[in-house]
């Protein structure tokens, strides 16, 4: 697999690679629910999105290719294609006020006065829809990283919200970065603090049947980069 890039991304990547990095704790202060299907937010995914949006002035990148997306974090490991496992845990709720609930989105169909056609609003593309979406509410979310604090802070000033449907959910009120003594991606009870490829943990085995077939580096949703991985919280 050949990784694609752009001139702007290449320049940003070179700058980030040269930065000195150290263990840090990133905290997001929130005041409303976040829509997420996974109980966490991939922090490297959030940073990569922000880098791309900044580099392209909000335009994003075309679908199809697998891009080398730079972020100002350390790299723990690279796979055979050169894709990086970034030195970050997932962004997870850490305050005691966590509530898992759901919210509903309605898609209203066109009103009868807005069209001369006889629309079917019970089925098909103009159907009136109500979608339940899982929410997670917590006032404080945290991720541990190895990174460059000033660059991270600058980047996070453009990360206005997290999670899905973030035009109405997941607004971040403030970001804070603190020093951290040590960084680790597997906790003391040997559970993964982020998605970890099996090959990173056990370079000598091909697959672990306890592992899932998951995305593990930004963009997580891209099918081409999925491999066998231990999920967040999974015993390794």
């Amino acid at each position: 697999m050949k990784l694609a890039t752009t001139k702007a991304l290449q320049q940003i990547g070179d700058t980030y690679a040269a930065l000195p990095k150290r263990p840090l704790r990133v905290t997001a202060f929130m005041d409303g629910p976040v829509i997420t299907y996974t109980k966490s937010i991939h922090f490297d995914g959030l940073l990569a999105h922000t880098v791309v949006m900044r580099a392209t002035e909000g335009a994003g990148l075309p679908n199809g290719a697998v891009y080398a997306l730079p972020i100002p974090l350390g790299v723990l490991w690279r796979d055979e294609n050169g894709l990086p496992l970034w030195a970050t845990t997932d962004l997870v709720p850490v305050s005691e006020d966590v509530i898992a609930s759901r919210d509903y989105f309605h898609r209203r169909s066109l009103e009868p006065t807005m069209t001369t056609r006889n629309l079917d609003v019970g089925t098909g593309r103009h159907k009136e829809k109500r979608s339940p979406l899982p929410t997670l509410t917590a006032s404080v979310w945290q991720a541990d990283v190895i990174g460059h604090p000033e660059t991270l802070l600058d980047l996070l000033s453009s990360a206005t919200s997290i999670g899905k449907k973030n035009s109405t959910h997941g607004a971040v009120q403030e970001w804070r970065i603190d020093e951290l003594e040590t960084f680790y991606v597997i906790d003391e009870s040997e559970r993964a603090r982020r998605v970890l490829p099996v090959s990173y943990i056990h370079p000598d085995i091909l697959a672990d049947f306890n592992a899932g077939y998951l995305g593990w580096t930004p963009p997580y949703w891209l099918p081409q980069i999925r491999t066998f991985c231990y999920d967040l919280g999974q015993q390794i």
Partner: protein, 462 residues
Amino acid sequence: MTPYRTKPNTRHYQFLATALTALSHHDPAQNRQSNISLFRRADQLVERTTSAIPSPEEVKVFISAFHVPESLAPFISNLTPAQFLAICFVQKFIRYNNGDGLMEGVTRYTILQDRVRVEALNATGGFGFWARLNTAMRTNGDMRADDMELLRLLTAPQQIVQLALDALSKDTASVIALARMWRDTCVQPRDWKSQTENWDEKIHIPHVPAALQEQAFKTGSRVVMPVPSVSANSLRHEMIREPAMWHMLNLLNTQTGDMPDGAAALLYNGGDLNEAEPGDAFKLTRQIRNAYPVIDLLGGSAKGFILGASNVEVSAWIVCKENTVPLARFGITPDLSAFDLLSRTELTRHTQKRVSGSPMPYGFETLVQGSQLAIEIRLRPYANDLVAGALAVAVDTYKEADSTAFGQSARGFGLLSLETLKEPVGDLTSLKIQYEAYIVGNVLELRGGLVSGRLTTEKVVV
């Protein structure tokens, strides 16, 4: 090291909206057969209003004052104090009203389940819950003068009653099933005709003091409960998407009926996907977003591809004590609970036979006239000046031409008066002029794009 801190870089509005008429905003999560619709609610962590937290020992003593049928005692002992008290409330209600035949048949229990849930959501204590339930069920709430158990229920510690109310609202079916079983255990056989309110004593069903094995009792001061709330997504539609659409169409001198339904849907509700993505979707997306600032502001979907993310974020809170933390940045200190703002409106729907047909009464909860909403609208850092102008004219159009929110505006609900607390830094007038000049200067191209479904590209995309 001093922590590094930053706030996300957004240009934002803050509004204080005051309801000039009651707000109707039904709860989409209600799963009920009733002809009463609840106001929208969202789970929220709220501070309990009590200062005294009973110890597990005090709870144990409190619970042991209740007597349960001996045959059910081993099963009841597995319940938590909150679940047990929830069942006691319903059991008492059934006991007091069964003598009149009120609680006979499945339908009555379906109605009871529905109303128990609604009243448990709204009550703040046992005292209020009992009164509300009797009002809702049209019963008189009469009690025996020597019923010490009911007296204890009505005056139970606030801390434990709030958990019982939680069980009554969330686990209603289980609570009612066990309460009914409790009563049925005490009921005489069917051929006994002389049912009275104290038949269990007459036929000597043995009772024992209640004892719960596990005195699990949360001693924290906060509890999760469904609190009245408003949908930011609904406000995003009412305050931005729809007025932005009408404003642009007026400038273009066209209407939704002139364009394909996909184009009208894109402007009105964001549209949807219904065919495969073309190879040049990225280029088309850029072209469309550059041509129509409204689409760049709100995002949406062509028939084969998503047109990218929205450049605007909306948050909204009811001004109430439960939202004290987010309201602080508006400089608002609320003094009322959201539950104090709830009211109930009852209307009658007439059948075609206006005189002889049976009219159907129905009711719904509303937020009372005078309730306030704090609304924040934020532009993301990637929004250009035309997009900022599109947002500014949308908000102006909303203020001047509509100013209603949520449901039943045609019946007079949801009229808002909007006070601007904060505007984005910069010359808004100039942004609005710039945006309107752009639309007027490109009328033919923009109108042609909508009417043809090409949205200024070389392909039909909606």
